[in-house]
Point group: C2
Chain length 160, copies 2
């Protein structure tokens, strides 16, 4: 009951996963605090100490992680000025950062199902334009849900 490795991958020793995108992604998002900061960014957090406090980490950690996240291009540090205030910097999601939404929601859904005990999910998601619930799904281009055992993995044609 696992994915099916096809083509070259069938010989498990013929391919190493060192260029795997999952590993690369984990290099960027490997720590708990990084991901929690991204969560707060999704929830609309922008100011330094708001992000730090709501993520539940110290300002020192937040500063280090925010620097990494901006260097990796998930967040952008941009100056802003409220009337009568000095200029400050806020952290806003870039497209790269926004594209993490499926990851965050998939993780949330998994936690909701398997880690909340009898209480169920603490938060509910809905599509604001139609009102119905939101979920993360693994689907093929034909629209079929794809369970693990129907998933085939092969080496991609390197595009030129």
């Amino acid at each position: 009951m696992t994915a099916v490795l096809e083509g070259k991958l069938a010989d498990r020793d013929a391919w190493t996963a060192d260029r795997c995108s999952i590993a690369k992604a984990l290099d960027v998002l490997g720590t708990r605090s990084s991901f929690l900061l991204m969560r707060e960014a999704f929830y609309g957090g922008r100011r330094f100490d708001d992000l730090a406090r709501r993520a539940g980490i110290t300002e020192a950690s937040a500063a280090a992680r925010l620097k990494e996240l901006t260097e990796h291009g998930l967040l952008e540090r941009r100056p802003y000025q409220e009337p009568g205030q000095r200029t400050r910097h806020e952290y806003v999601l870039t497209e790269k950062g926004r594209d993490l939404l499926p990851v965050a929601l998939a993780l949330m859904a998994w936690g909701d199902k398997h880690l909340t005990g009898s209480r169920g999910a603490p938060l509910a998601l809905r599509h604001r334009t139609c009102g119905s619930g939101v979920a993360v799904e693994v689907r093929c281009a034909e629209g079929h849900p794809v369970p693990l055992e129907e998933l085939g993995v092969r080496v991609a044609q390197p595009r030129r």
Copy 2:
């Protein structure tokens, strides 16, 4: 351009994310090596040193992480015996572990898009029963794709 917090959540100080499922999930999967081991389990890895080697981590790390993952119920350690061999133990995905598939694929898709440079994705996924490509999508029950700015978040009714 973020999610919209509704209801009680609109007051950002009225709710703390300490029970958030994302944080809980990160407690289980917080480390890089845990996730890499899960990836190998999805690819069909079962034996200890195969998992360790293909995840690219030392056996000592693998032993520690596999113990955690089995304690958390993502993997199950079960005895098996090949003919003419002594009994050994293999690690197989539980339902809880298999349910991480959307997380793994979402992470892979994100890495494919943003971290591979010009080479593009190293692996291709397809639905084995119909042959078409596979993707992870955020959709509402009506079938609409839900972008971040159309996502509403509110406190769930605690189910009794």
